[in-house]
């Protein structure tokens, strides 16, 4: 793109639409992206999120299907939440996790969506709405479980509603259950409990996630697994429980248990692939990535269960009342209509509306990813690279086995302030 084409496109638009058009154009940031040749207003949505869910293919397919152009604003998890607070005008659609809602909603920067305008809303998996599997089995709800923060009291409310209302904070799109990733080739024995994370056998070769609110939950799972203490809610500890858990973590740190704490997807892959760590809390697709490099790595189901997370779409307050709101609904509806869900499922995540995703996957793919069946053919990644050979079975088994084994959800605690202070103390120890 040359400067000249920018200028021409701007002056043409200003002739067409007057100065207001220019102000709008400059404001939306399209000034710096490719100029449009369509006479009609392009439907552009600025999509703020981490790279995890930002597929190039998704944006292309969305443009082809709906005419909406998705402009990704990629940032780290921390930066995404910070930007919601500091610059709510710089994005339209936000891709974030349920646990951050406790902090984002009070800021007043989130526009509640109308459940009635979401076509597939009633088909969203009951994991989100009721806390149970499609087959009716209840799942663990410790921490900031999605159904606790899914609804608001009213259109301008900042308080969550326990009972369903039509005002929805975050439309779920993708979720998963996290557990420990291990290097079976270096550990050489079965692992079946969270307790192993702090087992001195793996001194200097273990790692946890560097997000305090999540790291402490992993530690709590260890504490429970070793029988030291039973928490009422691992995702919402009392001060005494925080002290106890931090003590366990501090002792492990002082003994040199941890090689490093990982902060992003890529770090977790590098630590495992390079052999710096052999056991660490991990995301399913990260394990798949390590394995695709020809390195043995297992997403290890554990008897105590999984720690789950879920993310989805919010809309910025600034979008409310503008035509962008309609596009946002159109985009969310498209996202839940199946193609994107299938795309996510094929990466090892789970999609929010199972029925539409299933319609977009082959029976073999569905069997491998969702039902825990051995793959009949080679399993390929969305970009066509080989992920698993025919005959492989997914770690942790079926959707029901994995999501059914969830015991807690990523969380923000009521004692968050105290917890962060203790975390800083832990780092300084």
């Amino acid at each position: 793109m040359t400067d000249r084409s920018k200028k021409i496109s701007i002056s043409r638009r200003s002739l067409l639409k007057g100065a207001a058009g220019v102000a709008g154009l400059a404001g939306t940031g399209t000034l710096l992206s490719a100029p449009y040749v369509h006479a009609a207003d392009p439907k552009v949505l600025r999509y703020l999120g981490t790279a995890v869910n930002e597929g190039d293919e998704i944006a292309k397919k969305c443009l082809a299907d709906t005419g909406i152009k998705i402009e990704y604003i990629t940032a780290t998890t921390d930066d995404v939440t910070k930007r919601v607070i500091t610059q709510p005008n710089s994005f339209d659609v936000l891709d974030t996790e349920y646990f951050s809602l406790k902090k984002l909603v009070p800021s007043g920067n989130i526009f509640p969506l109308d459940a009635r305008k979401i076509k597939e809303f009633n088909n969203i998996t009951p994991v989100f709405t009721k806390g149970e599997l499609p087959n009716g089995k209840k799942i663990g709800g410790q921490g900031t479980a999605p159904w606790k923060v899914l609804y608001l009291d009213g259109p301008n409310s900042k308080t969550f509603s326990a009972a369903p209302t039509e005002y929805v904070t975050l439309i779920p799109t993708v979720y998963n259950a996290d557990t420990l990733g291990i290097r079976p080739d270096l550990i050489k024995r079965p692992i079946n409990s969270w307790a192993e994370l702090l087992n001195p056998e793996f001194k200097g070769k273990a790692s946890i996630l560097n997000i305090p609110s999540i790291g402490i939950m992993d530690a709590a799972l260890v504490v429970e697994a070793t029988g030291q203490y039973k928490y009422a809610d691992k995702g919402n500890m009392t001060k005494a429980e925080i002290d106890l858990t931090m003590k366990v973590l501090t002792e492990a740190k002082k003994a040199g248990q941890f090689r490093a704490f990982w902060k992003d997807f890529n770090e977790s892959v590098n630590l495992m692939a390079s052999g710096e760590t052999v056991i660490q809390s991990m995301w399913s697709p990260a394990v798949t990535k390590v394995r695709s490099m020809g390195i043995a790595c297992t997403f290890q189901p554990l008897k105590e269960g999984y720690r789950s997370w879920a993310s989805g779409f919010c809309v910025s307050k600034a979008v409310g009342g503008s035509p962008k709101l309609d596009w946002a609904y159109e985009f969310v509806n498209w996202y839940l209509s199946g193609w994107a869900g299938a795309y996510l499922n094929r990466q090892g995540y789970y999609s929010a509306v199972l029925s539409t995703a299933k319609a977009n996957m082959t029976e073999d793919e569905w069997g491998y990813w969702m039902e825990g069946k051995p793959a009949k053919n080679d399993i390929k990644a969305p970009d066509g690279t080989l992920m698993e050979k025919a005959g492989a079975v997914r770690d942790g088994g079926s959707y029901d086995d994995r999501m059914g084994g969830v015991v807690c959800w990523n969380a923000v605690m009521d004692e968050n302030d105290y917890m962060v202070r203790k975390w800083n103390e832990f780092i300084a120890a």
Binding site: I85, K102, F258, R259, N270, E276, N424, I427
Partner: protein, 311 residues
């Protein structure tokens, strides 16, 4: 700026002298104005906002615009109660100062000699520029990428360990090369030595070569020349480089975080943890504390050598 007075000062009438002073002053203001404006808009105003936020109250989920010094008092939690054991903030600052001091000493040692080589031994401007560029090129590859590359270099199976094992220096890979204080200081020295080189080099090329020749002619040894001429005359450069290194390391959390495996405390990391938890008032309060402490260090430094003298 049109006013030019080319009479020599001695012959000037007092009125003219005052006029000249006023003109110089207004010219100085014109020259310093633009930079002052940029700082006012993009640093001082935001700083005021940060200071305001630092005395706000907050709960687990949001900021509350009510006066509260919680951000400050919480920071010093346990500093009296836990005595004689050190509280978190003191431990953290001691660790930060230690890393800062090590980095400063090393960057100064390396930076001084690199600058010395460039200023006194490389005599052509062309080669000075070429060699400076050679030292700049690595920084044009984003630090995000370079940070990742330390693992394959220093990790358990990294190039250095493989090399050492291959050469028979060690039997099995050493662990302390990565995710340790060693790797933190190494990365900081790697990043910031050039920040020391640039000002020292600029100070050194101002040194009149005839001075050094005169010293040699008078029978001074290389060492004597260095201690009595080169070091004193490059002091401003040394101080400026020190200001760069100290200020950046005191506030750093990215390098210390990544190279320390997120397990080494630093003043910047406390702020980052607070920010990530969206506890802005606490983060702002910690930033104000850090600003205060570092300003004290720097003003002590400039008291020893005033970099603004002899301009």
């Amino acid at each position: 700026m049109a006013v030019t007075i080319d009479n020599s000062p001695e012959t000037l009438a007092p009125a003219q002298s005052t006029l000249r002073k006023m003109t110089t002053r207004s010219i100085a203001w014109l020259q310093a104005g633009p930079m002052t404006l940029v700082f006012a808009l993009f640093f001082l105003l935001p700083l005021v906002l940060v200071v305001i936020v630092s005395v706000w109250d907050y709960n687990e989920y949001e900021m509350i615009p009510a006066l509260s010094f919680r951000g400050y008092t919480d920071t010093f939690e346990g500093c009296v109660a836990n005595l004689p054991e050190l509280c978190t903030i003191l431990k953290t600052y001691l660790k930060t100062l230690k890393l800062c001091l090590l980095t400063w000493a090393l960057t100064l040692m390396i930076g001084f000699w690199v600058a010395y080589f460039l200023a006194f031994h490389v005599r052509s401007k062309t080669w000075q520029i070429v060699l400076s560029l050679l030292c700049t090129i690595p920084f044009w590859t984003s630090n995000v990428i370079r940070m990742i590359a330390w693992i394959p270099l220093l990790g358990r199976n990294g190039l250095v360990n493989q090399g050492l094992v291959g050469a028979g220096v060690i039997n099995k890979p050493v662990e302390w090369l990565l995710f340790s204080e060693f790797s933190v200081v190494l990365a900081l020295v790697h990043l910031f030595t050039f920040f020391m080189v640039v000002p020292i080099f600029n100070s050194m090329i101002r040194i009149d070569k005839r001075l050094i020749e005169a010293a040699y002619d008078a029978g001074a040894s290389g060492w004597q020349t260095l201690v009595n001429i080169v070091i004193p005359l490059s002091k401003p450069g040394i101080v400026i480089g020190s200001i760069f290194v100290i200020t950046i390391v005191m506030g750093d959390f990215v390098t210390i975080g990544v190279m320390g495996g997120q397990q080494i405390a630093s003043a910047g990391k406390i702020i980052e943890a607070r920010l990530s938890a969206l506890q802005f008032p606490a983060a702002a309060a910690n930033a104000v504390i850090l600003l205060g402490i570092t300003i004290i260090i720097i003003s002590a430094l400039t008291r020893i050598v005033d970099v603004r003298k002899e301009l």
